[in-house]
């Protein structure tokens, strides 16, 4: 599972587990709930919460029935009474079952109460195509939640960000959805330091460049970085930005990068229509129009459910060649 892991590296799933251990040790108000999260149930289907119930007790790391509305409702209620619950919704598609609790309640209670109450909960969920999990276990629905005033949405692409974003999400006074891209759970990357925080709303420039800004997040970020070689060979200098937070997204970093490069390609695994790329492209056309040398371009999955069969699933997912090709065409004026 963690083949080739070097001493100073860690997988994303281990980083998430480490973030829980560190956070719960520091603050007794932090709770974990969800399906199978306690150790008798193996600490979560991916092991993200393993060891927590043994160390902190099953009253703080509590396995729930398969009842997503009840899970989010319990998290909301406990947060109103001063706790900081982290709810696991096993898969992102299952968040749809709890949408009323998330959208109508968690996201809105601060506003509807005129600021008298707030809902400092974290909702962790995993998703992503690549393991042939098909139409109801793979979707990226981040745009749904980013469209909800009151919600924050973060998506890490590596172990350090997974640790730092989860810690920041727990610190945050409002509901934060943490989307974990399951196929990259076991990829070793640089190890986080204890206590590390990644500020919510802050993107990371993963590579500097001058011809085009390529924006992405989650596993797609790695596919973008893998395109650097082909881009370099074509004489294209790309600036790579890992968005990390979807809402509120880091407009400052993105706008200043695009003002410099004059071109932007947004890459995500979610289906392209009405996605995060559409929002960013619209903002760039409003705020960067005079500086653009090419149309803002988007790569996303086709507008279909996620297919099962391996060749279909691979065709569904954007890939490195497509990213490189599109970016080169934008820079060379062949768009």
């Amino acid at each position: 599972m963690s083949g080739g892991k070097k001493e100073n590296q860690m997988t994303m799933i281990d980083a998430i587990n480490m973030a829980f251990h560190d956070a719960m040790e520091e603050d007794p108000k932090i709770l974990v709930l969800g399906e199978d999260v306690a150790d008798p149930e193996e600490g979560g289907v991916s092991g993200a919460t393993r060891g927590l119930s043994t160390k902190f007790g099953e009253h703080r790391c509590r396995t729930t029935p398969i009842s997503e509305q009840a899970i989010i409702g319990a998290a909301i209620g406990a947060s109103l009474a001063g706790y900081k619950p982290v709810a696991e919704i096993m898969l992102m598609n299952f968040t749809t079952v709890a949408m009323d609790m998330i959208f109508n309640h968690a996201a809105k209670l601060r506003y509807m109460s005129g600021g008298q109450t707030n809902v400092p909960i974290v909702i962790r969920t995993m998703t992503g195509a690549g393991f042939s999990t098909a139409g109801q276990h793979s979707d990226f629905l981040e745009a749904w939640f980013a469209h909800a005033p009151g919600m924050k949405v973060v998506i890490p692409s590596n172990a350090q960000d997974a640790y730092g974003l989860l810690r920041s999400a727990i610190d945050d006074p409002d509901p934060v959805l943490v989307v974990e891209n399951m196929p990259i759970y076991w990829t070793p990357t640089d190890k986080p330091e204890k206590g590390h925080r990644v500020p919510i709303g802050k993107a990371r420039i993963a590579a500097e460049g001058k011809d085009i800004t390529i924006l992405s997040y989650a596993g797609m970020m790695n596919k973008c970085l893998a395109a650097l070689e082909a881009l370099g060979q074509a004489g294209v200098s790309a600036e790579m930005i890992d968005l990390r937070t979807i809402s509120p997204w880091d407009q400052e970093t993105v706008l200043s990068s695009v003002a410099k490069t004059g071109r932007c390609l947004i890459v995500h695994e979610a289906v392209k229509p009405f996605g995060v790329g559409a929002e960013i492209a619209a903002t760039l056309s409003e705020r960067c129009f005079g500086k653009l040398k090419a149309p803002v371009s988007r790569i996303g999955a086709p507008f279909t459910p996620v297919p099962f069969s391996k060749p279909l699933e691979s065709a569904f997912l954007p890939d490195t060649a497509q990213i490189a090709e599109t970016a080169i065409a934008l820079v060379k004026g062949k768009h």
Binding site: L31, H59, R60, R62, T64, P65, S67, E68, Q69, A70, I72, G73, A74, A75, I76, G77, A78, S79, L80, A81, G82, Y83, P85, D100, M101, N104, H105, L109, R110, Y111, M112, S113, G114, G115, Q116, T117, N118, P149, G150, K152, D171, D172, P173, D174, I200
Partner: protein
């Protein structure tokens, strides 16, 4: 229902006082809407006053309440101040929520009024979380989720009752069965004979009471509160009642059986309880009249306060979406 667990004289008068407050406030709200002075979507609870009055005398300010769009009676019984309530209903800045929630989303944490939801069934999963917090911190608080009979057919009810039972939470599920879910009669929409029967599935007590009888309602509430405080887990109470003025203000009630409605209104629990208190010698006519007169004066004051209060500054539109981060 046996006569154990009965309210003493002063408690009976206090139940009456709360009923009087609820009834007068509903009458005034409908009057003010008709006058055009306040525009709001209003769900009258007239006829259901006994339930929150007899429930709330068993609770303290620290106990939590999660209620629903037809819930102003629940909140008044729990102690929401009239001025703050009216200012919120009128959309004024001095309302509980600065005018940003309105009558469907009233919130008043200092009296334990934590959530008012406009979504059928959603009071229950959140009440569980509040109860979980009490279980963890051992603060002895009880959480009450109120809802209508229609909500017992939504998934959230079943998820919430199951979780509360499995976790043995100090929560009370208080179903105010007013016999209609929106415009649809109870039996047409509900396979169970009674809502209380559904408790069997969750291995918790399911108690069905006449929700218009203050004595029965008080006894059931008290028992459920004691059970929750003792750490014995949740109770489902089905309090059978009737709403006099339909689903939403302006509703013509054409879906109702006129004879059923006439009979229910003739059996109005308010004058019945008032007469009983006097007949029993628990209170005098003068004493109850004084209570009613004071309430009318308090409501006069609250309406005036609300209508004189300024509307929120439009800058409020974008405030309170997120809190300040450290």
């Amino acid at each position: 229902m046996t006569k154990t667990n009965q309210p003493d004289g002063p408690t009976q008068v206090e139940i009456f006082r709360r009923m009087a407050l609820l009834k007068a406030n509903d009458e005034r709200a409908r009057k003010v809407i008709r006058s055009g002075r306040v525009q709001m979507t209003y769900y009258s609870y007239r006829g259901q006053e006994v339930i929150p009055a007899a429930m709330s005398v068993n609770l303290t300010d620290k106990d939590y309440l999660c209620t629903i769009y037809r819930g102003i009676h629940d909140m008044l019984a729990k102690g929401i101040p009239l001025r703050d309530l009216w200012a919120e209903m009128a959309g004024r800045v001095k309302g509980t929520c600065k005018g940003k929630g309105g009558p469907m989303h009233l919130t008043y944490p200092s009296k334990g009024i934590m959530v008012t939801t406009g979504i059928v069934g959603s009071s229950m999963p959140i009440a569980n979380g509040l109860a979980w917090a009490s279980q963890l911190s051992k603060d002895g608080r009880v959480s009450v989720a109120t809802f209508g009979d229609g909500a017992s057919n939504i998934g959230a009810f079943h998820e919430a009752l199951n979780l509360a039972a499995v976790w043995k939470l100090p929560v009370i599920f208080l179903c105010q069965n007013n016999q209609y879910g929106e415009h649809t009669a109870f039996a047409k929409a509900t396979a169970a004979k009674h809502v209380a029967d559904r408790a069997v599935s969750y291995n918790i007590p399911g108690v069905r009471v006449n929700g218009n009888d203050p004595y029965e309602m008080y006894a059931a509430a008290r028992q459920a509160v004691e059970r929750a405080r003792a750490g014995e887990g949740p109770t489902l109470i089905e309090a059978v009642t009737f709403r006099f003025f339909g689903h939403v203000f302006g509703d013509a009630d054409k879906y109702m059986d006129p004879a059923q409605k006439a009979a229910a209104m003739a059996a109005d629990p308010y004058p019945a309880f008032r007469s009983k208190l006097i007949a029993d010698g628990t209170a005098t006519e003068a004493q109850l009249a004084e209570i009613e007169a004071k309430i009318e004066k308090d409501i006069d004051d609250a309406v005036e306060f609300a209508l004189d209060a300024p509307f929120p500054d439009v800058a409020e539109v974008t405030r309170d979406v997120y809190g300040a981060t450290a």
